[in-house]
């Protein structure tokens, strides 16, 4: 669960703001169920506050409280907090957030040196098996993959958006923004170029085995800002390792578009073989674009009923000008 926003923001904007008492009761609850409690404190920007005496004292006090409560793991994105947790609270396992963008063996090594017990890898390398294998060879810590975040591959907004979230969710003056520009552009891009949904590096429930074969067997789900039913349905799909329905139901970032696009998950069987050897030269390859044209359907609402049309029928060449 996310930590206390009065102390530190996170990578998702949610209305829930747990205080220490609630974290303590939730921790007791999950421990009773023989599960681990992880607290996510992963803003990408803290405006340098963590390197001030006041910031250091506050984080040290807060981590100390989490330690007393018996929290098992803390997920952070800021390298300084990784080292601070390792040095001062060795009982807490340190998890590197996906927001640290660990996308190479070198970067993984750095974070392990700083004290990481586990690293959630940059989703941009979810379909780069050569790099995944390289990271596995270099570090001993646990590697985690975020399976359903489904952000745009090589998204130009990613760093800026997480920085915005950091300031929206953290303490101090919150910017009074007129719009979440990054989100609006992200969704608009996908509407205009539906192949971006296929290119984005999600992992289907059916394909987890390909990663386990590499030795990566810890899979994390994105979507804590969604409804509880949505989260449970996703967990069920991934634990069943099968989903017979609209892939969009499982994807976090573009979930707004699940009423626009219908992507029959079963029709993506076998695509993993292509992605395992993907050279990331989309302009030369065209596999994801062709796949989108083949499988993506678009909802249309007429006579109070929803039906789906093939993407090609919507992308007509005979538009009126």
């Amino acid at each position: 669960m996310a930590g206390t926003p009065e102390v530190l923001g996170s990578g998702r904007v949610t209305l829930h703001a747990p205080l220490l008492d609630e974290i303590a009761s939730q921790t007791r609850y999950v421990h009773d169920k023989k599960l681990k409690m992880g607290i996510v404190l992963n803003p990408s920007c803290m405006g340098g506050q963590h390197l001030t005496s006041q910031g250091y004292n506050m984080f040290r006090w807060y981590f100390g409280k989490l330690n007393e409560i018996g929290v098992d793991t803390v997920t952070v994105a800021e390298p300084y907090l990784v080292e601070m947790l390792r040095k001062e609270f060795p009982d807490i396992k340190v998890v590197i957030s996906v927001i640290s963008h660990v996308d190479s063996p070198e970067r993984a090594w750095f974070f392990e040196e700083l004290g990481a017990d586990a690293i959630t890898l940059d989703t941009n390398i979810n379909r780069n098996f050569e790099i995944l294998e390289g990271i596995k060879e270099v570090v001993d810590c646990e590697l985690r993959l975020l399976v359903n975040e489904a952000c745009l591959y090589k998204c130009p907004f990613r760093y800026s958006h997480f920085n915005l979230f950091s300031h929206m969710t953290g303490s101090g003056n919150k910017p009074n923004i007129f719009s979440d520009y990054y989100y609006e552009k992200c969704i608009s891009f996908r509407v205009r170029y539906p192949e971006l949904i296929i290119k984005s590096p999600w992992i289907r429930p059916e394909d987890l085995g390909a990663y386990e074969a590499l030795g990566i067997d810890c899979f994390k789900m994105s979507g804590r800002a969604n409804t509880i039913t949505w989260i449970i349905n996703c967990m069920k799909a991934y634990s069943d390792r099968a989903y017979d329905g609209n892939l969009m139901d499982l994807l976090d970032c573009p979930s707004e578009l699940r009423d626009m696009f219908y992507i029959p998950n079963r029709e993506l069987d076998g695509a993993i073989k292509q992605w395992m050897n993907c050279k990331k030269m989309c302009h030369k390859c065209g596999f994801c674009k062709a796949t989108a044209e083949r499988v993506v359907r678009v909802y249309e609402f007429t006579d109070m009923q929803r039906k789906t049309l093939p993407l090609k029928e919507v992308q007509t060449k005979c538009a009126i000008s």
């Binding site: 552009k185 626009m260 249309e300 993407l311 009126i320």
Partner: protein
């Protein structure tokens, strides 16, 4: 009353289909609302994804036609039809067809560009 309420999702679907047809590309109307403001305006607002300002230039007449038709079907007689953009970007994020109160006739309809984020598509002299 129920008949009127049923017209709202129908209108959303119709607007979406019509734009997709003349643009020849996917567009998403996230939500269509019929509204009444505190100042006295009434109207229809469609939140959308996938359109850019250049689409307004190319298909302006088509947008005005379909928005007029749909608002008329909802019982509206809009004085003003406009698009709202995301400030500083090319993204069009909403269409509004609005019957204006006397104050908004002055504030919105008296100018070619009443606000930096609004693009007026059609204005009637009522």
């Amino acid at each position: 009353m129920r008949d009127f309420l049923n017209k709202i999702p129908e209108s959303r679907g119709k607007l979406e289909s019509a734009i997709r047809k003349f643009k020849g590309a996917p567009v998403y109307i996230v939500e269509l609302k019929v509204f009444g403001t505190a100042c006295g305006c009434i109207g229809m607002l469609a939140d959308l994804r996938g359109l850019q300002t250049e689409d307004l230039e190319v298909y302006k007449e088509h947008f005005v036609n379909i928005l007029s038709e749909i608002s008329k079907n909802l019982g509206l007689e809009p004085h003003l039809i406009y698009a709202r953009t995301l400030p500083g970007s090319f993204e069009v994020v909403a269409f509004t067809a609005r019957e204006l109160c006397s104050r908004c006739k002055n504030e919105l309809a008296s100018f070619e560009k009443p606000r930096p984020d609004l693009i007026i598509l059609s204005k009637t002299g009522k």
